[in-house]
Subunit: 484 residues, 2 copies
């Protein structure tokens, strides 16, 4: 029969997605058995207690129940600006949240996204090429957008995509699924996960020597799992590189609101590209991704995202539109969340103070948690960790002693999987082994989110330290660490 | 650069999706220019004025705004059973609607779906193989589920999928996109779009003679665009055929609530398969699809669906789970809609009467509209139309006179596209040409939904008749019709 393992599409079998891989499955089992699990395997803030922002939820609740808008008592449960916004968004639909929208998303919301991108660049000159709603597609989360674009680019295993290592495994999994070739470029851990353009050149040269045509490059900024923010100078180098090598740049910017230091603010690839001017600003193909799942929103379960295309020819945009049409439309309530994210309450609005208080509270707490976590890891034996400049993750290096490597081998496990499984069994902390993201050979990491509730953080880090230091004491037989 | 038309993935370029194709794009243009358009190109009931069912919207609104549950005034806007159900569904999540669920969907909702499938079969014996929540995956609409399964089955152009003609173009488009081969089997218009197993055999034999390995078969029951309901005897033949030919059966049953006659009720492939007993009940691989977009719900924009797998080995289920994980989770609010669809209010519940009144009202009106439409088409010159037994569409045959074929040729259009464009320009009625679904050569159709508001239906049919009869008078030069 067709759905037998041996007969499945090999690309399906090949792809790996560690964020919900062996560790997650084991954690789910343990949870079923009654063990308390701290799920830090995926950036899923609400699952760890983060409260949703009130205003957007009020607006979307009203859009789901539009009959409330005619109820004389509606004002007892909803503020007037939420009511007004719900009416506004309903007016952008044809038939409310239950009707398919255009396959690119509601035109009115795409217009709000375009205005947001425009504002974000602080550019007001008339000659500036405006962000165009027709080049913005709303998606069921950013992942779906990435998959749509890669599906257009990848024709077979001869097509290579430059992907950072370590990387978020959406990229490796999607490239496998589509039958393309992942071309890795390494981020430099000793330089705070910096990106060296010379490494890029080497990666491309090596891929070409193997007959691979490199067609696109992925950057994740701020980095996942690595947490670094790319500087403007670095982004310029990357864009020049893409221009020279004729690569489409996929800019994964889903963590753009998650910044935990002031030295290196988020700066979008689009802004840098536009500032570079001719010939780059019209010569580099760029697709930028954003989401409602991250930032201080954390509305993962709503599945809302967008991508914006720059310098993509109309005929190609049409093809992308056509393929998006097959699944008819992204879910409409998440489109409204996206509208709200790009046009939140303004000073003077009834809900502004509460919205500002809530969002500030979340971001400030994340900033403190980033620090607690980095410091906690760096206080552990054989653990070193770069500071999380942005995004939602900590990616400590775990220097496993030879005894641990041997024990892992005996258990038939990759060393970092072995470590993470032991950690899970001992503490309930569910992480993702660094091998799921890619790392240099012989170097081991784990990824954890910085999302556990702030008040639980000290206890979690204590519990981690206790486990780690005992683990190291058990396996450290004095013969030295695994090499850096 | 990589995203140039000439360099795109050829499979992307090849796929066609007529439901949002040339006609839809032209209709959107005309709408922008201020023309009143009646969008009957896609089964999108709320866009044509169907009101959402109140109870599920109340529940989901409360789930979006869980803080209302603590508000002493909540009872002024929401009935007690909606409040209780919202609490129930929130208790099935870990973190509410903003948290990713398991990639298969919330376990609690999948359990409710399994119970629904079980109830639906009216089987209570202990020996009956229960529907298993672990074999039910929730999806962002049924289309996404179909794409997931076909992605596992199709390895390349040597893999063929049997698809009815006429068919819903989701299938042809997805098969193109995945690089497989569509193997058509023709439904018999003169037998009310019946399915003859001898045709299936011929289709398979012909495909094999071309070196294609036929691996799966699609049935759409009730039919889209054709509206027929498959009889139990017919389903048995199909299942035996799949057993003998070792084909996975994909049962698209999204219109199972949309039945407009009493002679041929909907019967699920799963029920027939289980009733057939050994060796079939354990020997046929079946994947069944359902949705919240159709029925009397029509919640298209929410993007909720599920598929249930029967006789699929655990190792394959794991692979499907892994691939689903890459996009993390289907949207959670649509999962709640699915839960509500499979466990609606029961007699005695506060909201039961309203729910029953609303759902009955929608279904009875659809039944009347199916009849008005069929009769309307059959009153037109050169138009013949089978009755819509189920689903949401009417698929009249348009017998185009030679003059019209010639005019179409001169305009560079496929004849049915030519007709539908003229219809659109003259009346604002946006349909889909039959060529978008496949039809026998030289025979022409169009698909329209039966969804326009009942009170507008007579006027729409008058407007259609006026256009059609004038069109026929213009082009009918007495040399006879196009052949049947």
């Amino acid at each position: 029969m067709a759905l037998e393992y041996d007969l499945l599409n090999e690309n399906v079998k090949k792809c790996q997605y560690a964020v919900r891989g062996e560790l997650y499955l084991r954690a789910s089992e343990l949870q079923k058995e009654g063990k308390k699990i701290i799920f830090t395997n995926v950036g899923n803030p609400h699952a760890l207690g983060q409260k949703p922002l009130t205003f957007p939820r009020q607006v979307v609740a009203l859009c789901q129940a539009p009959f409330l808008l005619d109820d004389p008592n509606v004002g007892m449960l909803f503020p007037a600006d939420a009511i007004a916004r719900a009416k506004h968004y309903l007016s952008l639909t044809s038939g409310g949240l239950g009707a398919y929208s255009d396959s690119r998303g509601l035109p009115g919301v795409r217009k709000e996204v375009a205005e947001f991108i425009q504002r974000h660049m602080f550019v007001v000159t008339v000659c500036f090429p405006h962000s165009d709603p027709e080049l913005i597609f709303l998606t069921d989360g950013a992942s779906k957008g990435v998959m749509q674009i890669l599906n257009c680019v990848i024709r077979g295993e001869g097509d290579g995509i430059l992907v950072p290592v370590p990387q978020y495994p959406l990229y490796s999994a999607t490239i496998s699924l589509l039958g393309g070739s992942l071309v890795p470029y390494y981020l430099d851990e000793s330089e705070n996960w910096g990106l060296d353009v010379n490494n890029l050149r080497q990666s491309v040269a090596q891929a070409r020597s193997q007959g691979i045509s490199v067609r696109a490059m992925v950057i994740i900024n701020p980095g996942n799992p690595t947490g670094q923010c790319l500087s403007e100078a670095n982004l310029k180098e990357i864009l020049k590189f893409c221009y020279n090598e004729k690569l489409v740049l996929l800019g994964d910017e889903v963590y753009q609101q998650n910044i935990y230091q002031d030295e290196r603010p988020f700066i979008s690839s689009k802004k840098v590209l536009m500032d570079m001017g001719s010939p780059f600003s019209k010569g580099v193909q760029l697709v930028s991704f954003h989401t409602v799942s991250k930032g201080y929103w954390g509305e993962c379960g709503q599945r809302g995202g967008y991508f914006e295309m720059t310098n993509i020819p109309p005929r190609v945009v049409e093809e992308i539109y056509k393929v998006a049409s097959i699944a008819l439309s992204p879910n409409v309530s998440a489109q409204i969340f996206m509208g709200l994210m790009v046009s939140p309450p303004k000073p003077g609005d009834i809900s502004y103070d509460q919205f500002a208080r809530e969002s500030k509270g979340i971001l400030e707490s994340l900033r403190r948690r980033a620090k607690i976590m980095t410091d906690g890891f760096n206080s552990c034996k054989n653990v070193v960790c770069n500071f999380t400049e942005g995004a939602m993750y900590s990616f400590p290096q775990i220097r496993l002693p030879p005894g641990a490597l041997q024990a892992a081998k005996q258990a038939g496990k990759v060393p970092d999987v072995f470590y993470c499984l032991k950690l899970l069994e001992a503490t309930g902390i569910s992480t993702v082994p660094g091998s799921g993201f890619g790392q240099k050979e012989g170097v081991f990491h784990l990824r954890t989110t910085i999302l556990p509730a702030e008040e639980e953080m000290p206890e979690i880090m204590d519990s981690f330290k206790k486990f780690n230091d005992e683990f190291m004491a058990q396996y450290d037989n004095g013969f030295g660490y695994s090499r850096m």
